[in-house]
């Protein structure tokens, strides 16, 4: 039974809903065991922290990239400033999704001032929604909450409901203020919560598509679904208000990253009767096979799945074997969000590259759908063995710098901006691949393997950078245990 309740205006945060944590230091096997043993997984706090990131930009990216929607950030202007990155993303990747005439993203701030924090900002929000509607005539408006508007206690939900009644389009309140959750993927949940509540329609109709919850990666799914007679319905980037509305007609939902789509996948299953494929996304051979089989089962086309697997093996196994040979003895370190970080660990496992450690931003012991088979880290540990020095790091750079400096892998794989810098400063070839679909399936293993080879071979730049690297961290810190400030907190509390 999931804990999804679409009657509530605000999404329940991850820490409460699925016991997600942001502090851990140990190994992957231990973390998996603790995750599936009621009450054993404890979050660890730190007495030193750096900027961790918050929910708002995550809620924003799942709404701003809807082709015909407008997004209002209800707060001071600062809380909308980084959203410009999504305008760039939208324009650049439009081709990948066959959007031929991408339109500049519609991003607004209510620009709250000091006096609004005293008298409340609702009147300003109402006025802004009206102006945005009149300026753009969007097919939906999303309103994102911020720390300021939340503390002041603005009733965003009422302002949205009122506007929705007046303009006849969905006007959706998204509760995503930064202080609410220390797991910033709660922001994805917040965006999806609003979409599931206000946009998706209940229906008995079934259509010829499968929902794919993802970011803005390349289109791998069209080709994969074709033999089954289906097409992907990508949500939410590059969707339209109308395609989202009809996503309840899908025959199934798959995830590109289980942590991203956890909430929406479960909501689609629970509230709209669209089953989520009950296994982790297809990274590594064993998991790719499981995934195609699970998909075949849901579609009642097990034979098609077997045929695909057979063909893929024929085509790609020799190439994968060749790559394993070339990569023999290599080691790697991974940093990124869950579960994509887990996915990368599986790809590494398949390529025979030894993972020396990982710094993953947070950990969800179980996803909203409640099925342990969706645990990508568990699959990784079962398929390829344990990962030592596995850390849940809350994007704390100082911990990464400490851990990475001690392990010196042959390559660093990163999934979020800013982290590759530290690999490079240590002279470690570093690779960031933004396209979340890149490593999927058999072809993904080959593509990734080739990129890793390439980046290890061409290390001249990082070797040169290393010679001139500036490091603001003290020598003392670099020789402490990575979880020093977690231990310090526990000592203080007498734990």
């Amino acid at each position: 039974m999931t804990k999804i309740n679409l009657d509530l205006p605000a999404v329940e945060i991850r820490e409460v809903r699925i016991n997600s944590i942001s502090g851990y230091d140990g190994n992957a096997k231990d973390l998996v065991e603790k995750s599936h043993c009621e009450g054993r997984l404890k979050d660890r706090e730190r007495s030193f922290m750096q900027c961790a990131g918050c929910s708002i930009s995550k809620a924003a990216c799942m709404t701003i990239l809807i082709q015909d929607a407008a997004v209002i950030e209800h707060g001071p202007i600062g809380c909308s400033t980084c959203l410009q990155e999504f305008n760039f993303t939208y324009m650049v990747n439009a081709d990948l999704r066959n959007v031929s005439d991408p339109k500049q993203r519609k991003i607004y701030s209510t620009n709250l001032q000091e006096k609004d924090t005293v008298y409340g900002g609702n009147a300003k929000l109402e006025k802004t929604i009206r102006e945005v509607y009149e300026r753009e005539k969007p097919n939906a408006i999303f309103v994102l909450s911020t720390c300021a508007s939340a503390i002041v206690g603005d009733d965003i939900e009422s302002a949205c409901d009122q506007a929705e009644a007046e303009f006849g389009i969905p006007v959706v309140a998204i509760t995503c203020e930064g202080f609410r959750s220390k797991i910033w993927t709660t922001g994805f949940d917040a965006g999806y919560h609003g979409i599931a509540r206000k946009l998706i329609e209940k229906t008995d109709k079934k259509s010829d598509f499968i929902n794919v919850i993802n970011f803005w990666g390349s289109d791998r799914f069209s080709e994969w679904f074709k033999p089954f007679g289906y097409r992907p319905n990508y949500i939410t980037p590059y969707s339209t208000v109308n395609t989202l509305r009809h996503s309840g007609e899908a025959v199934a939902t798959v995830q590109a990253c289980s942590t991203l789509g956890s909430y929406l996948g479960a909501a689609l299953e629970q509230e709209y009767g669209v089953p989520e494929v009950p296994t982790a996304p297809p990274y590594g051979i064993a998991q790719t096979d499981r995934w195609f089989r699970a998909l075949g089962k849901i579609l009642h086309q097990e034979d098609v799945a077997e045929k695909i697997i057979e063909e893929k093996k024929k085509e790609y196994l020799p190439q994968i074997e060749e790559l394993r040979e070339k990569l023999r003895g290599k080691t790697a370190y991974v940093t990124g969000g869950a579960a994509h970080g887990h996915a990368l660990l599986s790809v590494l496992g398949e390529l025979g590259i030894r993972a020396k450690g990982a710094s993953i931003f947070h950990h969800d012991p179980v996803y909203d759908i409640g099925d342990e088979n969706n645990d990508q880290l568990r699959q990784r540990v079962e398929d390829f063995g344990d990962v030592p020095h596995y850390r849940v790091c809350s994007k704390q750079e100082f911990e990464l710098v400490n851990a990475l400096g001690k392990l010196h892998p042959d390559v660093l794989l990163a999934r979020h901006g800013g982290m590759t810098l530290w690999g490079a400063k240590y002279g470690i070839p570093s690779l960031l691949i933004g396209d979340e679909h890149y490593g999927m399936g058999y072809e993904g293993i080959v593509d990734y393997g080739n990129r890793i080879l390439d980046v290890i071979e061409n290390d001249e730049f990082v070797k040169n950078l290393q010679k001139h690297a500036v490091n603001p961290y003290t020598k003392w810190w670099l020789t402490q245990d990575s979880d020093y400030f977690m231990k310090a907190t526990e000592k203080e509390k007498g734990q």
Binding site: G78, C79, T81, C82, F88, Q113, C147
Partner: protein, 448 residues
Amino acid sequence: MAAYNGMIEQPRFSCAIGALQSVVAIPRAVPILHSGPGCGDMVSGFFERSKGYAGGDTSPCTNFNEKDVVFGAVDKLRRIISNSYKVLDTDLQVVMTGCTGGIVGDDIESVVAEFQNEGKPIVAVDTPGFKCNNYQSHSNVVKAIIDQYVSLYEDEHPARSNRRLVNIFASLPYQDPFWKGNLREYKRLLEGLGLEVNVLFGPESGGVSEWRTIPEANFNILVSPWYGKPIVDDLKIRYGQPYTWFHSLPIGGNETEKFLNQVLDFAIEHRSGINKNDAKKFIQKEVDAYYEEIDNLATFLLEFRYGLPNHAHIFADAGYVVGISKFLLHETGVVPKEVFAIDNTPQKYQEDILKDLASTSDKKTIPLYFEPDAGKAQNLVRSISHKGNGIILGSGWDKNLASEKGYEFLSIAVPSPVRLVMTTNYVGFSGGLRLIEDIYHKALDLYM
């Protein structure tokens, strides 16, 4: 300062805490955020490539949670500061509040005072996002550092004790994408006059030891339409330093010459002890070198027969809008049409800025709109058409608009994911030449 406080489409400046970039711009200084977890990401995602020594993901932060909002997070802040000294090797720490810390009312000054009493180079400044934007907050940050750090060293650096020394307050670090190059060029030019120069930010500054010499300066220079003025006003009272104010950015030959002469006259008037003749010779040499290039360029500008931009729209802060307008009209022949100051220019400065712009030409009026709601400004440009080829100089947001209109586009403002700037400058003689190169490189790139 009355300014626009309505909604804004396409943010082109940040909130108060965005001025953490002014701290990042001081070599080996670190901002410590007493804020929600997302403020740092918002700021770095806006400015991009803005990490510096200890900004971005390196900056310590209390990462407010729900409990902290209810009970306050003063103890947490104390721990974070104290551990920052263990983890990071920095020369100056500036503690800045976000909306959370601000509304909750945590007394950060007291916490910071504890560390100040231990002799730490640490400063507290109130920067909740709703308080003001980063253009204004920059002044508050600088004033706080002077008040809580620089002032401790006044005995070793008595007020106005170095006749040749000046402090210049000009480009806002990171908000002006060319800040590093611009500050370097100001320094080079002013040194050419015979002055010694504190630029305070960026690689040309000497870090905190340079900050400590602020009181020694004989006078200050403000290059800005309005932002930064509270700093020189404050220094006037604090150290009795007069200032000379150049209202828009000196780009190209005319304005740079005017700027240097203004500073030179002021320096002579305030007995800087510099040699006027040598200074004049320096200016003349720079002017000659500049016009040698313009001379070579003129044939191309006048004769290139396949079409070059003949008019421009500008979206930038008021200083750039006026500076570039003057430059384009007189030094390239491109006519500025509707131009937009997007910096939420306070009302009381608007008239002077309009006058400054009006001085550009006695033949034509350049329509200037003070419009921080840039989406609205863009819609105005959509509704207008002018004959000939156009160019838009603006932020990354305006690239789409330029392609809609079939105009050329040059990125000169933040946010801009479509241009990489490191140490390029647009001010000064060399800045004018560089701006010409950039505009016509874009124009020629359309051919073949």
